[in-house]
Amino acid sequence: MKETRSPAQVLVVDDEKDLCWALQKILEGEGLRATVAVSARAALEAARKKSFQVAFLDAKLPDVDGIELARRLRSLKPETRCVLISGYLYEDDAMVREGLEEETICAFVAKPFRIDEVIRAVRTAMASAQV
C-alpha cells in the first residue's frame, strides 16, 4: 500500500472561491491534499493530469451540473469517488437519490455544513474506493 503514505488527493469543484477555500482548509486539516477548480471544464482538465481519490462537486456549476460532471469524471477516472455538495438540493431530492443509487456519487453534503459531515463524507468515499 504505497499510496496510503502519500496524502490522498481530493478535487474540490465550486464556482464559489470562498467555498473552495473552506473545503480546502478542512481537508488539509485532515492531512489530505486538495486541488481547486471553479468550473466543470477546469475540473476535467485537472482530472486528466492527476488522479483523485475523492471529488467534492457543487451541484450547480456555471457550465454543467455536478451530477453530470461526476458521470464524466468517473468515465474518465473510474476510481474517483464523488461527493455532491449543494445549497439548493436535499438528500431526498430525486436527482440526489438517483445519483446515490447509480453510484455516480457516494455521498451528499448540504450547505451550510458541519466540518465533521465533510470529514465523514470523505472517509465514506475513501472507504468505498478501497472495497
Binding site: D18, I26, K60, G87, Y88, K111, P112
Partner: protein
C-alpha cells in the same frame, strides 16, 4: 240701425278679431253678446247656445267664471290673472265691467291663450331637471366655482366622496379642501384656467369622508357667458383612490410572483456565504490555527455574513410594498444591477452569459426605485425564461436627448408576429398555467408609463427579442 252704429259694431268686430287676446262681451243674463274670432264659432245665435255656460261647456272652471262675471256687475271692479282650461287650451283671463251711464251694462272677459307659454316653460324645466340629473348622477365630482374660486354648486358625488353637503362648502374655496399644503397647486391650476380659458388638469390629494385622504384627478374648464367672457370654472374630479390601490395590489402580487420564481435561487445564493462563514467559524473553534489563518477565517466569516445580508436586504427591499408617492433620484444602472443580482442564480442556472455596458453619464432619473426595479426584474425574468438552454443577454444604456435608453437583448425563443401585439395585455401569457400570471409585461408597461417613459419590443421568432426602455432624465437640481 244707423250708419254710425253699424260702423262702430264693425270696428269692434275688427278689433276683437285681430287683437292678440280674445274677448267676449257678456250681458247680465250671462249670455255672450259679442265674441272674437275663435269663440264666435261657439255661438250659434240662439239664446240657449250662447249662454256663457254653453260656450265654456268643456271647462270645469265655468262656475268660477260665472261667479266672476256676476261679481263684475255687482262690484264694478275688474279682476285679472285668473286661469281657465277649455278644449285642452290654457287661458289667463280677466273680467272687466263695462259701465254706461253709471250702470254696468256688460262684462268683458279678456282671455289670453298661454298654452304654448306653459309648454315651453315645462320644456325648459324638463331640460333643467335633465341637466341637473346628469350632474347629480355623475360618478365624478362636478363642482362649479365663481370667478373668485368660491364653490357655487356641489354634486352628489362630491357629497358622497367628501361627506360634505352643499351647505357645508358653499362660499368656501375648493383649495381649502386639499390637505397637506396641496391647496396652492389647486389654486394655481384654477387661476390658470380662468386666465387662459384652457382646460387644466392636475392630480391632487383631496379631503375624503372621515378625514381619509383621496387622490383625485381634476380637470378645470372655464364657464363662458354669451359674450365669450369667463363666468366661472367647472371642476370635474375623478376619485382614483380605489384604482390606484388596486394597481398597487396588482404590482405587489406581481412582485410576490417574481419572488416565488426567485426563492429557490435566493436560497442557494444565501447558503453559499453561510456555508463559508459556518466552515470558517468551525475551523476557528476546532483547529489549532496559526495567527494568519485565524485572521483569514475571521475575514471570511465577516464577508460571508455581509454577502448574505446584502442579498436579504435586496430581497426585502423588493418584497416591500412600494409607497406610491415615494420619489427619489438615482442611477438607472444601479437599479438594473440590483435586479440582476437578485436573478443571478436564475441566469446562471440557465447558463446565460451576461454582457453589460451601462453608461453612467446622464443615466440619472427621478422616480420610484422599487417600482422601476420591479419593471426591469420582469424584463430580465422574461429574457431568462426565453433562453432555457442558455444564450446571451446584452444590456446597454445610452443617453438620447433628454432620455436614458436601456436596451435588453436576448438570444432566446422570440415572440411570434401574432403575439407581439398582445404582450402588454394583462393576463396574456404563453407560459403554461401556473408558470406565469401574464401580468409582468402589462405591469412593466404601466410602471414605465407612470415615469413618463416609453417601452418597445422587437422580436424575431427563434432569434430573440430586444426590449427598449426610454425614461426621461432627472432635471438638474431636482
Amino acid at each position: 240701425m244707423s250708419k254710425r252704429t253699424s260702423q262702430a259694431e264693425s270696428l269692434l268686430a275688427c278689433i276683437l278679431d285681430n287683437a292678440s287676446v280674445s274677448m267676449l262681451c257678456v250681458d247680465r243674463d250671462l249670455r255672450v253678446i259679442l265674441a272674437g274670432r275663435g269663440w264666435r264659432t261657439h255661438l250659434r245665435g240662439d239664446k240657449e247656445a250662447d249662454e256663457l255656460r254653453q260656450v265654456f261647456a268643456n271647462s270645469t272652471q265655468v262656475d268660477e267664471l260665472e261667479e266672476l262675471v256676476r261679481n263684475a256687475f255687482l262690484t264694478r271692479k275688474p279682476v285679472v290673472g285668473r286661469r281657465l282650461e277649455d278644449h285642452n287650451r290654457h287661458y289667463e283671463y280677466g273680467v272687466a265691467p263695462f259701465v254706461w251711464h253709471k250702470k254696468v251694462v256688460y262684462a268683458i272677459i279678456v282671455l289670453r291663450d298661454i298654452t304654448e307659454e306653459l309648454r315651453l316653460g315645462e320644456e325648459v324645466r324638463a331640460v333643467q331637471r335633465y341637466v341637473a340629473s346628469i350632474v347629480e348622477s355623475a360618478s365624478d365630482i362636478v363642482i362649479s366655482l365663481d370667478l373668485s374660486g368660491q364653490i357655487v354648486t356641489w354634486n352628489n358625488a362630491a357629497h358622497r366622496i367628501t361627506g360634505l353637503s352643499t351647505q357645508d362648502v358653499k362660499g368656501r374655496k375648493l383649495s381649502e379642501l386639499c390637505p397637506g399644503g396641496s391647496g396652492g397647486a389647486m389654486s394655481r391650476a384654477i387661476a390658470e384656467t380662468l386666465k387662459t380659458k384652457r382646460i387644466g388638469t392636475v392630480r391632487l390629494p383631496f379631503c375624503g369622508r372621515g378625514g381619509e385622504e383621496r387622490t383625485v384627478d381634476w380637470a378645470f374648464s372655464a364657464m363662458l357667458d354669451e359674450t365669450g367672457g369667463v363666468d366661472g370654472v367647472v371642476a370635474v374630479g375623478r376619485d382614483l383612490t380605489e384604482r390606484l390601490e388596486a394597481e398597487a395590489h396588482l404590482q405587489q402580487a406581481d412582485r410576490l410572483a417574481a419572488l416565488g420564481v426567485m426563492a429557490g435561487g435566493i436560497a442557494h445564493e444565501v447558503r453559499n456565504p453561510l456555508a463559508v462563514s459556518a466552515a470558517a467559524a468551525q475551523l476557528l473553534l476546532k483547529r489549532r490555527l496559526d495567527k494568519a489563518t485565524q485572521a483569514e477565517c475571521a475575514k471570511k466569516i465577516h464577508s460571508g455574513i455581509e454577502r448574505a445580508s446584502s442579498i436579504i436586504e435586496n430581497l426585502l427591499r423588493f418584497a416591500r410594498p412600494s409607497e406610491p408617492g415615494r420619489q427619489s433620484v438615482f442611477d438607472i444602472g444601479h437599479v438594473i444591477r440590483d435586479a440582476l443580482k437578485l436573478l443571478e442564480n436564475q441566469r446562471k442556472l440557465a447558463r446565460i452569459k451576461l454582457h453589460l455596458s451601462l453608461n453612467r453619464l446622464g443615466a440619472t432619473i427621478r422616480g420610484n426605485r422599487t417600482l422601476l426595479q420591479q419593471a426591469f426584474m420582469n424584463l430580465l425574468l422574461n429574457a431568462i425564461d426565453a433562453m432555457p438552454d442558455g444564450g446571451r443577454l446584452s444590456i446597454s444604456s445610452s443617453r438620447k436627448d433628454d432620455s436614458v435608453v436601456v436596451r435588453l437583448k436576448d438570444t432566446g425563443s422570440g415572440i411570434g408576429p401574432k403575439e407581439i401585439n398582445k404582450v402588454f395585455d394583462p393576463f396574456f401569457t404563453t407560459r403554461p398555467a401556473g408558470k406565469g400570471s401574464g401580468l409582468g409585461l402589462s405591469i412593466t408597461h404601466s410602471i414605465i408609463d407612470q415615469h413618463s417613459g416609453h417601452i418597445e419590443i422587437e422580436s424575431a421568432e427563434g432569434r430573440g427579442s430586444t426590449v427598449t426602455v426610454a425614461l426621461p432624465c432627472a432635471k438638474e437640481g431636482s
